[in-house]
Symmetry: C2
Subunit: 233 residues, 2 copies
DNA sequence: GAGTGGTCTAGACCACTGT
DNA sequence: CAGTGGTCTAGACCACTCC
């Protein structure tokens, strides 16, 4: 065989992807080890490793020390989803962004919120409800609880001008977050706020962010009817 | 300063994350270059590069040649969520998986489908509707169009026993996909299939997969009411 | 024990881009 | 032009895990 001479990890990656997609390497099959591939491609093992690692991260390959690298039988493909800053998302579409605070108060959160944020029994939390508008039309309703023990400064902010969304991004770093998507039937309260029809199906994105073991904030973003959250593989 | 001696890229990453989260490096600020950090940490530049690259991929840092590395002003955090194999998702929760084919026919797809799949004017496509059940309860409804020009073999398969989901994963590789998440109000047809209440809000995951510039399949997965798709940051 | 992937190192050159 | 990140190389050692 003539030497292939693939010099960049991207070229190596594409060659490997080609062999997987063309079924030259079949699902479940063991592929050659890094050293052999490096020799075949005429490059360093490090380069092959980088390519294999990227593909494995996308779910198409499964790697285990000593056991080698296999083509995944059931590739669990991974999509990366960017969490948008709502203002940017709207302005990027050349629509006019506006923000309206609906309510802001210190309350005892309901049990479900306490559970999701792992809050102790009876403390209070800051409850903020606000609307984000695109071209003067309700775009998303932000319903948020903030752990005031973790971020006491938040009590000094009236979220009249700046959204809690943006303030927290800039002032309350987090180390991890849980996200879930679901759908909700529009109730009377939401219908009033969002100016939509009672009973409409609205997509919801819920997010809890943590700094270590301490919950920072829990937010439900309820989008207007018909909204789609996009991503790609 | 005493040498820090961080020896692995994970340690370097954690140290860097600490400096970002503690605001020792503030949003928008330029951080030292790789060579200086490598010297400070007492490791190779490659190791620092690996750590910085991972953080940049998560959205917390922005890197440009010559311009250097900055802490992101508005960190667009990226969540990766894995596209589940429905059977696995159900079985992983120790529930009994079942599959029922509802319909399978060669049809002229509606304009919206043709547009999303970039199909030529008047060809037909395979339309498959099926239910996935968990413990004998409808879990998700799969409504799928398959491009028979791209995958002619698909015409030989009656999807009576194996779901199109699994058959395609094993037989029709793709190079990229578009995904969108939204919500839909349960209509009569869905209510009958899914055994839910008319008017319920149901979460929908839509996916189009491509092999190069050719669309392979477009699928709408409509989940039962209350279902949540999880991921984490 | 031995084979595989995971990572580190030191040095080098290249690609991009701000000044 | 010069400074920065992006990558490649060759070699080395380690960590894990299958046999």
């Amino acid at each position: 065989m003539t030497a292939l001479a693939l010099n960049t990890w991207q070229e190596v990656r594409d060659e490997l992807l080609g062999r997987i997609n063309s079924r030259r390497w079949k699902p479940g099959e063991l592929i050659p080890n890094e050293a052999d591939l490096a020799e075949e491609f005429g490059c360093a093992r490090t380069t092959v490793n980088r390519a294999l690692r990227e593909i494995a991260e996308s779910g198409l390959l499964e790697r285990r020390r000593k056991a080698g690298t296999r083509v995944a039988l059931f590739p669990v493909r991974k999509a990366t989803f960017s969490i948008p800053i709502i203002r940017q998302e709207i302005e990027d579409r050349n629509e006019k962004y506006a923000y309206v605070l609906v309510s802001r108060s210190l309350e005892t959160p309901p049990a479900s919120v306490r559970a999701q944020m792992a809050l102790p029994g009876k403390g209070k939390a800051l409850h903020i409800v606000a609307l984000h508008l695109a071209n003067a039309t309700p775009y998303v309703c932000e319903d948020r609880w903030v752990n005031v023990d973790a971020i006491p400064e938040v009590l000094d902010i009236d979220f009249d001008q700046i959204s809690a969304n943006e303030w927290l991004i800039a002032h309350a770093p987090f180390t991890r977050g849980d996200i879930s998507f679901s759908a909700v039937k529009c109730d009377e309260e939401l219908a009033g706020r969002m100016n939509t029809v009672l009973g409409d199906a609205l997509p919801i994105l819920s997010r809890t962010t943590w700094n270590g073991e301490t919950a920072i904030t829990l937010v439900d973003l309820t989008f207007r009817a018909g909204h789609r959250l996009h991503t790609s593989l």
